[in-house]
Symmetry: C2
Subunit: 330 residues, 2 copies
């Protein structure tokens, strides 16, 4: 199919850009040094590409992501880097032979892992982002508790999410170092082989963790594009101009096809005025006509992709593959 | 099922609140005076409730909404209040016997309606919101063009979206009046029976339109709750506390279960610090524990609902119905 035949709004991946990003990352963090986070793309077909680049372990944020990767034969080493209160569905995945490790940060989540049939955990440590993770000083106690209850404790994880998006390299590096100092302190009390952390913004400076959980690098967005990263924009929301007025035009994508928490999306030849449910009003610098195609760059890919049923891989104006975004939901 | 068994994050509708909202609106705008907009809820089962309250015509924003309502037997009078460049799928719906009217605001969209097999249109008029709609002075020409090309022109529509959310009643009313003056001017040139406009924020003051396109009134959100409206909050994202720290706790809903363009969601007994992909960090006023249920109120329901596969109707802590959000996508 010619890409101009795509019904809009459509999630479109530039095949060459994706390949460039995957290759660049695999050279920087080969094999198990990267544990790609699938929450950004939620697409097993894209995870299979990452596996083909040598990364056989994956990071997940939801039970469904774990289930979907396992069902797709990508369950060699799945880390659910998130706390769950009901782990029964994870135990069912373990029972099929996949390796599933879950993050715990409290007595309750340790109990949930045991009750749910999960056999391995990592201790999730708060390294500065006010979100999940135990106090570093509590990590050893939790590891002991987990081991007493029969769980294998593979190590620690701690996400420096307060650092990954900072535009200044030096500040980002300094905050990353401080966060990882906390994680290594906890690791001394916990033990195990795994020190899991990091994201796209710190992939090259987090030398303390032994596996990096980056995910956005594969497709990129305007938020990460502000940083000094070697990855290129690979994901676009293609839309169609449906209305033209003297000062602006309207494209048929909006709040239900774009994640908005990082602000408005961008277009190459104009400025986005605002988005409505199914519209984006754009002041174009050059004249456009009803029916023209507009490539919109999302500000934040993760919540953008979660709106779409499929993404189309495009090369030389041909749709070469269409992948279901099959890991959506919970 | 007891509602405490719902897997989270879950979209939950308070059955009594929904019924109150539907009844209140049906009393204010009975029958065809309301053409409920389904874009807010994207759920044919809820549209069927609105039909049971006497509203047999519906407003849609996407082709899929039109297709879904028609397939569900709710196609007596469907208005696609949006411009489309490719109307072939709409023509297919018309061919099955449903009545489909599409908005046009340009020569190109008139041509698309003709080419796509749509038989009836309304002229979409820009009444002040910089989005779709022709200049009021061009409406008569477009209506003539459409009629010459064999289309039935049912009248006009014009959405005062720049007014509906304004908190001050008088200012809202004044802007609504100015907008509807433009719409009536256009209607004098266009003719036809339909003068379609309005939203939840202007449902009681827009006395110029003869049908109101309100949709949010059924479920409500925190943005509309700031206005002086009689409707009550009926939609919640139920989540589970998965992590507790001394100053905050974390619930398992986030950017992929909440539309964020109107800002953070709210909770009754705390303040939302921020949302991440699958987390909301909350400073609670009273202690919470891992496993506690949190009812989160979305700031904007439309893009919130579009993330969810289903919504659960709950009454007296029982899940009495589960409805697929079957009109998602495009």
């Amino acid at each position: 199919m010619h890409s101009s035949e795509l019904q809009t709004p459509a999630l479109v991946v530039d095949a060459a850009a994706l390949d460039y990003n995957l290759t660049t990352m695999a050279a920087a963090l080969p094999g198990a040094r990267l544990r790609p986070h699938v929450k950004a793309h939620k697409t097993t077909a894209l995870a299979a590409r990452q596996a083909a680049h040598g990364h056989l372990g994956f990071t997940c944020a939801t039970v469904r992501e774990v289930e979907g990767l396992a069902a797709a034969g990508l369950g060699a080493d799945l880390l659910l880097a998130n706390e769950v209160v009901d782990a029964r569905r994870l135990g069912a995945v373990v029972a099929t032979g996949s390796r599933v490790t879950v993050a715990v940060d409290s007595d309750e989540t340790v109990d949930a892992a045991v009750a749910g049939g999960v056999r391995e955990v990592v201790i999730d440590v708060n390294v500065g982002l006010p979100r999940c993770g135990c106090d570093p000083s509590d990590a050893g106690r939790l590891a002991d508790l987990a081991r007493r209850k029969g769980l294998g404790v593979r190590g620690v994880m701690g996400y420096e999410g307060h650092a990954v998006g900072l535009p200044e390299h030096d500040v980002r590096q300094q905050l990353c170092a401080q966060a990882m100092e906390l994680l290594l302190t906890a690791h001394r009390d916990v033990g195990g082989d795994v020190i899991s952390a990091g994201g796209t913004g710190t992939y090259d400076m987090n030398t303390w963790a032994n596996e990096i959980q980056a995910g956005s690098y594969a497709l990129m967005d305007t938020a990460y594009a502000k940083l000094d990263l070697p990855f290129v924009q690979a994901l676009f929301v293609w839309s169609t101009v449906i209305s033209v007025s003297p000062a602006f035009a309207v494209a048929d994508c909006g709040l239900k096809s774009l994640g908005m928490d990082h602000g408005n999306p961008s277009v190459a030849n104009g400025s986005v005025w605002f988005c409505s449910d199914e519209h984006t009003t754009i002041g174009f610098e050059t004249p456009v006509q009803v029916g023209d195609r507009v490539k919109v760059v999302p500000a934040h890919i993760d919540p953008t992709i979660a709106y779409h049923e499929r993404m189309h891989l495009v090369s030389a104006e041909r749709v070469i593959e269409t992948w279901p975004v099959d890991l959506r939901g919970w």
